[in-house]
Symmetry: C2
Subunit: 479 residues, 2 copies
């Protein structure tokens, strides 16, 4: 059976070539396919179903805190995009331009949105009048285009799907509180839904979003010890308000500029899930986003009563609100086991003549391969517990990976040695100067990941220049 | 109070200028706003919330019949678009072209999708191998661009939001059955969710979708007696399969071409809702898609216990699964009544000191203005009944409008006279010839709407040429 599984799966071992393993999983689990358009991908039904689960849970969280969804135009006039200098400089090299509509050349070319701060500001400049309308808490789910040179499924693609939240507030304090609230929302989502531990923190000036006053991030560590920026939350002050002439009449009856935030997360999260939980048998999905949480498989299904018993199990699982399916096809047991391992289905529920005699079924966990014989009358109690347990198991294993591969370093040489021998997050002190950040990149090959919200003093001096330190900071090699 | 309402609403009466009334409702109910980009609109929170309710109900229906969502690239290479001649000829004048990515001119220009048959075919030409994979039942929710000359909110906009279903099947019969199943799905959605009666039928050769073998439609009638095409379902035969080389190995081990369908519905449905149910006080929403189904308003809210009693009502409504809100702002009762009438909220639930004494609340129906005093202990029984009753009331009124303004006509002159004096759907026989269709347009100003599935014989000869008739058909003036 081991041989048969290998033949079905036929993916590269992650220890042999992590990048190839990743691409193999993306395709063999039928998540994405390359499109004919260079650098673009297709989200296939199984991949899109994961994205739908992510959207549905996250959207409900946004709405709990008063956010409303809208749809802004996908095309942005060049002159509008150019009103805020830093933003356009940051994105100009990556913009796709529409120059013709129908058979006519446009008077002004239009950018396919790389991000929508400009459109929201333009809308607010027309619709905002009084402080009574504030805050405006908007979000949109859409796709954006950034003309990347090299692309990889989910991680870097010319078109990707995301949510972008955009809000304006009466005061700077309220906007800053929103920025932090949404950062926490992402941190909770990663940990409680995706089972991925994160380091929430602030980006350096060098790494922050073009045009933002401050950018916050949740950083996570993949199985190959590389870093992945999970989601970001930005505070803009009133910089865009001033550039786009967004004003309101304040409580004091004077014209004022509102304070702004934006925050985003993308289909890249699916890439993070693959590289955090996956193994050499394929995808491993956290139960909360798994399109199929339990796959029922009848054993020796030609025997009398087996299909009925399996169907009964399926019905009971569905009634519990579990996303369950049954595979009663004529494929072999080995093929089915391999197929649903590859697809990362959290639980495989098997029942055959012997189980029926004993009044049980056999549940196999995808996360650790454990097989549990469950008395049929305990199904409703045990299955939800098992799904919780899979989530916890995945989270704890990822947490172990993060902790085992984070090292406190005192010198640049130490960072370099750590990155060369083990790789991971180097936890150091930093003086806050760009020069040191550049030197770290040049000599140790690392970029700053974030200055964590939970600061510690691991030393008094900068890891690079030895001058007095201002921040604790994480360094790593990022996707 | 009537005066105050007028001041708040300030919309044109529909009898004075229906087009202006429509635009006024779109803007005053805060559904859409014009964007800075010519011909593009912004879906504001209230408008988008209606679209979210539409999406959620319709998506669940699609999934019940085995359809899966995917995401295809938004850009289509020109060469790919041009592989099927009829399709590209139909859409070429309306395509927006991306010619530059970042700072570089592209080797081949890319079309912003006007519709995605080509992308789906391209994907299937790579992924389809055997009949075992059939049918493939795909759908996507996205926006598309068609470079229209004149635009109107929801009805005709350069960018609009829609779903496009695309399926392939082993046999022509299966694909035809899918086409009709999805047409019925739309008909049910219009009648049971949007409370809009429809005429399901087939489009003429002249009016069918570019590249389709047959196009089916659900046609509805607006309050101004004009026609609106609600949604369409197309059967393609194997035309696209052949053009895009989509093949599979059949049961007979031979290479075959699959048979294809596509079907779509758009944000235009919101336009249909406005023009079917709206009145001179603004929007009137069918309860199933209303973002707010019941608005609780405390009367004399400074009086002791009123706010608490209203809050209690709100809580009970929410617990029943009703989308309810409360407005305890310091605006006047007149302002609040006018505001929620404008927004089309199906039920206004008022409670004040007198109601509290009597153990009742007062519920005002948006559809007919009726006020019902409801004993508080009957709330859970009465509110769902009232919502059903609002739906039925709206449907029946729209059905009356459709029936009252449909006339059986025997001659072109009769059609002309009907259109000039009353307007609506002219129900006639037709020989099936393009010449007569063109003559009807030229002389009576009408286009064919559909040949309804339920055919009757209202005469033996064509309304135009007098030769033997083949079909019963509806004519009208369309949005």
């Amino acid at each position: 059976m081991a041989k048969e599984k290998k033949a079905v799966n036929a993916i590269t071992d992650m220890e042999v070539d992590f990048a190839q393993w990743y691409t193999d999983v993306c395709r063999k689990a039928e998540l994405v396919e390359y499109a004919s358009v260079k650098g673009f991908t297709i989200l296939r039904p199984y991949g899109y179903a994961i994205w739908e689960n992510i959207q549905s849970i996250m959207d409900a969280e946004f709405k709990k805190t008063g956010h409303e969804n809208v749809a802004m135009p996908v095309l942005i006039p060049e002159s509008l995009l150019k009103k805020e200098g830093e933003l356009v400089n940051g994105f100009a090299p990556e913009v796709a331009w529409v120059t013709h509509g129908g058979n006519e050349k446009l008077e002004e070319r239009l950018a396919f949105r790389p991000t929508s701060e400009t459109m929201f500001c333009d809308h607010w400049s027309n619709s905002l009048q009084t402080y009574r309308q504030l805050p405006m808490l908007y979000n949109q789910w859409c796709s954006v285009i950034r003309w990347e040179k090299t692309t990889r499924p989910f991680l870097r693609s010319r078109e990707f799907w995301w949510q972008e939240g955009h809000t304006i507030h009466e005061t700077a304090e309220e906007a800053q509180a929103e920025t932090m609230q949404q950062l926490q929302c992402y941190a909770d989502f990663f940990e409680k839904v995706l089972a991925i531990p994160v380091l929430p923190g602030r980006k350096t000036e060098k790494e922050k979003f073009a045009g933002a006053e401050a950018t916050y991030t949740v950083e996570c560590m993949m199985k190959d010890h590389k870093a992945l920026q999970g989601a970001t939350s930005h505070y803009f002050g009133d910089k865009f308000s001033r550039a786009y002439d967004v004003t309101f009449t304040g409580r004091d009856n004077k014209i004022q500029y509102p304070f702004q935030t934006s925050w985003g997360s993308t289909t890249r999260m699916i890439g993070a899930v693959i590289m955090t939980h996956g193994d050499n048998n394929g995808l491993v999905l956290p139960p909360k986003i798994a399109p199929i949480q339990a796959m029922v498989i009848p054993v020796a299904q030609h025997k009398e009563g087996v299909i009925d018993a399996a169907g009964e199990l399926l019905m009971r699982l569905k009634e519990m609100g579990i996303r369950a399916r049954m595979d009663a096809s004529d494929q072999s047991m080995g093929w089915k086991a391999a197929e649903y391992e590859m697809k990362g289905v959290p639980l495989r529920v098997e029942i055959g003549p012997k189980d029926m005699e004993k009044g049980q079924c056999c549940i196999c966990r995808r996360d650790n391969g454990e097989k549990i014989f469950v008395p049929l009358n305990e199904l409703e109690t045990v299955v939800p517990q098992l799904l919780d347990s899979v989530h916890e198991g995945l989270y704890n294993r990822a947490k172990q990976n993060l902790e085992n591969n984070t090292r406190v370093c005192m010198t640049l040489d130490e960072v370099k040695e750590f990155m060369e021998t083990q790789g991971g997050f180097a936890k150091t002190m930093w003086c806050g100067e760009l020069d040191c950040e550049l030197e770290m990149k040049e000599k140790a090959g690392v970029s700053s990941r974030c200055m964590p919200l939970e600061q510690e003093t691991v030393s008094d001096v900068c890891v690079c220049c030895g001058k007095p330190a201002k921040h604790m900071i994480y360094w790593g090699v990022a996707y």
